[in-house]
């Protein structure tokens, strides 16, 4: 097991170097000059342009800028935003809890709905229920997120008035940013109704962000369950007269979960980086929106730093998923 983890870890370093090189190259390959973008149609004189370039370190040759960037990372310094002049790490830490909070709630939604849906579809294979679940999950998977978000908003927020339109909490609550997680902060504040307001603000964004992972999980669970249910040991278990729910939950599901866990792990990447549209529509102050804005402003340090951190998280999550296999299925652990 440890050898396995060590082997996995040793792959991480070249992956990191690859990521820094790739983000640096790609963002610099996009035409556009951060100084011109900042000045807009007002323009900036060549002298001031030169002065600002020197100040921001943009006048140096690219390889030197890259070197500077990598040395910074090694020292734990991701640089400063060209626009706000704030350290990238500070901005990231302010915004990241919002993304994590939303991702966790979306994941919970996706698992709570996707997993049972997949199991029922497999158990009731070929029935109307199965077909409906599969049709719905295919629809969910192909849903244009932006449209889906606006539709839900229009129905539940504007027409029915059940949920708030956007934001993290009603503006009447003045919540201190203690942990950055609104559910926790609003709970800690002790203000009446604050926690409820935070929950209500999470509902629509979680559903929207969780829709695609939910569909993926439902489909994966179904096919994995179908495979396991046709195994001999399941037939044996049934023949022994074990209660049907026990066969499904204890005997079949545990084995069927392995590929599902992989899929859930892979969805973490989608949840973290794919939150861009959801965050924009629901005015959710997370890192997705931050990265997109930085790309259009050509804020190089933010784009490079932000992507690097997100990539790191995805690598770590994938590693944890690999380890989780071993926990769920002892065969894998022993084989390694």
């Amino acid at each position: 097991m440890f050898q396995f983890i060590f082997r996995r870890l040793s792959l991480v370093i070249p992956t990191f170097i690859g990521i820094t090189l790739l983000t640096f190259t790609l963002i610099h390959m996009i035409p556009g000059d951060p100084i011109e973008v900042m000045a807009g149609e007002r323009g900036v004189s060549p002298e001031r342009h030169a002065e600002l370039s020197a100040q921001l370190g943009l006048d140096k040759p690219l390889y030197e800028q890259y070197f500077h960037y990598v040395v910074g990372i090694a020292q734990g310094d991701l640089g400063q935003s060209l626009v706000t002049r704030e350290p990238v790490m500070n901005e990231f830490l302010t915004l990241f809890p919002a993304t994590v909070e939303l991702a966790i709630c979306a994941a919970i939604f996706a698992i709570l709905v996707g997993l049972p849906a997949g199991i029922f579809a497999a158990v009731k294979r070929g029935t109307v229920l199965d077909h409906s679940v599969m049709t719905l999950s295919l629809t969910g998977y192909s849903m244009p997120i932006f449209w889906w978000a606006l539709l839900l908003m229009l129905v539940f927020s504007v027409t029915l008035g059940w949920t708030p339109v956007s934001g993290r909490i009603d503006v009447v609550y003045w919540i201190d940013n203690t942990t950055g997680f609104m559910l926790i902060d609003s709970w800690l504040s002790g203000e009446e109704g604050a926690f409820k307001s935070a929950v209500s603000h999470l509902i629509l964004p979680s559903i929207v962000l969780g829709t695609i992972p939910m569909a993926v999980i439902a489909r994966m669970t179904r096919s994995s369950m179908l495979e396991v249910l046709s195994e001999d040991y399941i037939r044996t278990a049934r023949a022994k007269g074990i209660a049907p729910w026990r066969v499904i939950v204890i005997h079949a599901l545990r084995n069927a979960l392995i590929p599902v866990i992989t899929v859930i792990g892979l969805q973490v990447g989608t949840l973290l980086s794919g939150a861009i549209l959801t965050e924009t529509v629901f005015a959710w102050p997370g890192i997705g929106k931050w990265l997109i804005e930085s790309i259009s402003r050509r804020d190089y340090p933010v784009v490079q730093g932000g992507i690097l951190i997100v990539a790191t998280i995805i690598i770590v999550v994938n590693l944890l998923v690999d380890i989780a296999y071993g926990v769920v299925n002892p065969r894998i652990r022993h084989n390694r």
Binding site: P31, L154, S166, G167, V172, W174, I207
Partner: protein, 530 residues
Amino acid sequence: MKKGLAALPFAVMAAAAISTSAQAASTLVYCSEGSPEGFNPSLYYSGTTFDASSKPIFNRLMEFKLGTTQVEPGLAKSVDVSDDGLEYTFHLRQGVKFQATKDFKPTRDFNADDVLFSFNRQRLDSNPYHKVGGGSYGYFNDMGMGSLIKDIVKVDDYTVKFVLNHPEAPFVANLAMDFASIFSKQQADQYLKAGTPEKLDQEPVGTGPFQKVQYQKDSLIRYVAFKDYWKGRAKIDRLVFSITPDASVRYAKLKAGECDVMPYPNPADLAQMKADPNINLMSQEGLNVGYLAFNVEKKPFGDVKVRQALNYATDKQAIIDSVFQGAGKVAKNPIPPTMWSYNSAITDYPYDPAKAKQLLAEAGYADGFETTIWAMPVQRPYNPNARRMAEIMQEDWAKVGVKANIVTYEWGEYLKRAKSGEPDTILIGWTGDNGDPDNFLYVLTSCDSVGGSNYAQWCNKAYDDLLVKAKRSSDIDERSDYYKQAQVIFHDQAPWIPVANSVVYEPIRKEVKGYKIDPLGGHYFYNVSK
């Protein structure tokens, strides 16, 4: 079971559905379009930053009268101008308080030291704050303040004299702009002493109507009314900027009562907003112009007949109808009609393809020619859809034999190439900064701005002389005459096709009272009540 499964998401939603209309009566929520870049308006260019900093927190020596482009005294009670136009003496208001924060409590009122500090920081290398926050004072430099101001003298605690290098009539209007906001020198000194000068740009205090109490990036900004505000406390107690980048979502929030005022609606939503009984759709002609500039350095646009021909060949009304969907008006001059000195006597080139063909033939292009139209990749108030505008022009020009290809680049790249004179013709525009015609005409069409924002690269001696004379005179009637004459030359020489002046729309909730649209594009909430 089937039923339970299908109903799950809806059950979750219904269980936690909560009314969101429980807002305190004196809180005003403004759904702003983005996060400010910071809270020091002299370091940045964007209106979003000004709305969040200079408008609520600060005052300036001179201010724009709300809802107009007229300049009126702000922190200065009055101003005396010397006969040679080189010395401006400001008499400051007394008894003006600065706001306080957790770690800064002012012990004195606003005085001349604050004025000197606020300008010297931007002006002098030797000022200890000059390099703080990147040290790039874009507007201050763009308005030529660095080379214009020779010296700033403190005459006494409540009198400050600005000495200029040359007479410059728009100077007073410049002092009403956001970059000229007055900071507290006492706060600056305290932070410098503590070794944390950068805090001045994050947690500044001003003398303005609202005090910032909380900022969560990309989420919200909270302000409370400053109780000692020198004009009297604001009518609302709390002001919240709820940061909502998408215009459709801002509209949804407005409908649901989650915000009271929203900027920049989608043109497509305007009809629905007008019909909504809960919404008051306010509108005002914007202080802007969207235009197409001919690069006179490039063939065949050096020939005035070609430029005039294409003015005749373009159906501007069709553009207004299609691109602006009614939220705009046909422009005929380089300055908008709401600005003083606008020459309404000028007759615009009518849409007349036959006349265009005739002029092209006279210029030796009876068979037309091939050229390019550059279309901006971004939306601007003066041009909500440059691509579409370019396509309409392309069709119009094709009818007179001119084949135009549409070119576009990423925004930064577009501006850079445009300034270097690369385009044949280019769609671009301008929004006024200070309500002075000089801010349009000199910036966009003077010989000095060739290679800068004079995208037509057009330099006409007679015209330029008029602009310079107007700049140097402090008599407004005389200046107005010069500008009117200049507009006649501009019309005849036709370095542009002025296309549109947009109409600015701002929907507000019916219960909001006293809100006025600022022609300069800012958002003020001091006079608003709910």
